[in-house]
Symmetry: C2
Subunit: 313 residues, 2 copies
């Protein structure tokens, strides 16, 4: 089978490639990214493509004719979307529309995995927790509006042009190799630095916020299962742990795992206004479809992340 992954060079992409090959040793994997990642393997071919360039994208789809497409590429920063709302919205919707149009033309039989975000839920009340796919999305950032449009456009192309699309609303991912602008990666890095004597205290923001964290290895397994399942027709599935963890819980776990007790300082600059105190999802729908549930505990995830940083400090 031929798997085409857009944005394969990102955090999730490398885990996804590994997982596919582990499951299907004769898989052929095609990566599309805006910059070269220079990954070398028999089963892997890389194309450097800006997905806003429809002609170049089309030429690849025409040549490759993939069986599956996993669309990971996006301008995924919520903060960037506030700074450049037009560009962020247009880029994310335009790359998706280019992809849909190219699929209609050159590989209408393929199955597309469209990645969305828990950000789509937007303003939620605590009564809505855990969030289910049947809730009305009330997106609160230009990034999240584009993600909702992507889902809606998936429905239109699925019903109107017969494309086979499955959509996710993916909650917070964590794992080794994630950039340290993400909260768990950042905290683990600071603990590793503290242990190495490179800093004397750990600076935090609001530690009472509760989020739903899922190991990236569980995420890519869910993505693969969704592609192989019957869940098409633009159906939407939460990808989440189903479990709420506060930042304070994470800090406590890091103290336990590293067997240290740093001193902490709250930086008021990191205390941004938070729309939702608690965001967790329900994974009941994907579980019913294909039996998926999270397998890696939060403690195991965080242990591997802090060890990853310890090797790099």
């Amino acid at each position: 089978m031929k798997y085409l992954i857009t944005g394969h060079g990102g955090f999730v992409g490398s885990y996804l490639i590994d997982y596919i090959i582990q499951q299907e040793s004769d898989a052929e994997i095609i990566g599309l990214d805006i910059a070269a990642r220079k990954m070398k393997a028999d089963y892997f071919t890389e194309y450097i493509v800006d997905l806003l360039d429809a002609d170049k994208l089309n030429s690849v789809l025409k040549k490759v004719k993939p069986d599956y497409i996993m669309h990971l590429a996006s301008f995924s920063s919520v903060a960037y979307s506030w700074e450049y709302p037009l560009e962020s919205f247009q880029n994310n919707t335009n790359i998706f529309l280019n992809l849909l149009d190219g699929i209609c033309r050159y590989c209408p039989e393929c199955k597309l995995l469209s990645i969305g975000s828990s950000e789509e839920y937007g303003a939620v009340s605590e009564d809505d927790i855990p969030l289910k796919e049947t809730m009305i999305p009330r997106p609160l950032s230009p990034y999240a509006v584009a993600r909702v449009a992507q889902e809606n456009m998936s429905r239109v192309y699925s019903r109107g042009f017969g494309l086979n699309i499955v959509c996710t609303r993916s909650f917070n991912h964590i794992g080794c190799g994630q950039l340290d602008k993400f909260v768990i990666s950042s905290l683990a890095k600071r603990f590793a630095m503290f242990n190495a004597g490179q800093c004397s205290e750990i600076v935090t923001g609001d530690t009472s916020v509760i989020r739903d964290f899922l190991d990236v290895r569980d995420v890519v397994r869910a993505y693969f299962l969704l592609l192989k399942s019957d869940g098409g027709n633009s159906e939407i599935y939460n990808i989440c742990s189903g479990f709420g963890t506060s930042i304070q819980n994470i800090i406590d776990l890091l103290c336990k795992i590293t067997n240290t007790m740093p001193s902490f300082r709250v930086d008021s600059k990191l205390l941004r206004p938070v729309e939702n105190r608690i965001v967790t999802g329900s994974y009941e729908k994907i579980n019913k479809l294909c039996g998926w549930k999270p397998e890696i505990t939060l403690e195991d995830s965080i242990t591997s992340i802090v060890e990853w940083w310890q090797k790099r400090i």
Copy 2:
């Protein structure tokens, strides 16, 4: 007060201008359209602007600094959106994003009326009738996806940038001067032609479909009241009659009004697959906000439309 109307040259625009001046004789009305309409009046100024041209739009907003903006302009054909999904979606979202961005820069205090469509509801079941604003939109055309994105973007700019926006989901409008590609205008024209001996039969499509038709004069009154009410913060209001009418009902009314009984022929080419047999809305929310309800009966509307065509046949 200064009222800026985008797309003032369309069907709704001329009614809106008349209504505003009737209510506020000292109003100043500024029309923005892609082509000259050459309407002359003391209270009226016209600018020829393609809303995709952000610089030109900005220069008008900077100069005019309107108190109210009524955004009627759109690429509003569902059929066109199927033929050119990318262009239709991009154009509608881009003109709206340009407008929001311009408002932030040059007239952040103004109140914006964002026009949406009952098409946003998409696939509905008969249990959902009459449609309420609390339903999850499941848009089924690229046009409708763009309209949902417009609503979501209104929430983002209202909460994130403090803009004052009120949104509608407007159901089928009818009235004199509407193009004959719309069903009631088309039927009324054919009855007028039959009466004038210019055709021997009336061709129809599926006459069992039930829709919610509202006179354009009731529509523009609702738009004006929404602007003057407290209903901002990106709240959404159905603009509808609350009443379902089948195409067959319309034909029966036309027979009665014109006192004729033409022969009918069903054209299979006009029998397109219809996603929803019945679409009607509830106007309870706008009624609670500002007391608006429809005032013009369907019979009065259709009488005026058929008379309008009789003068032109």
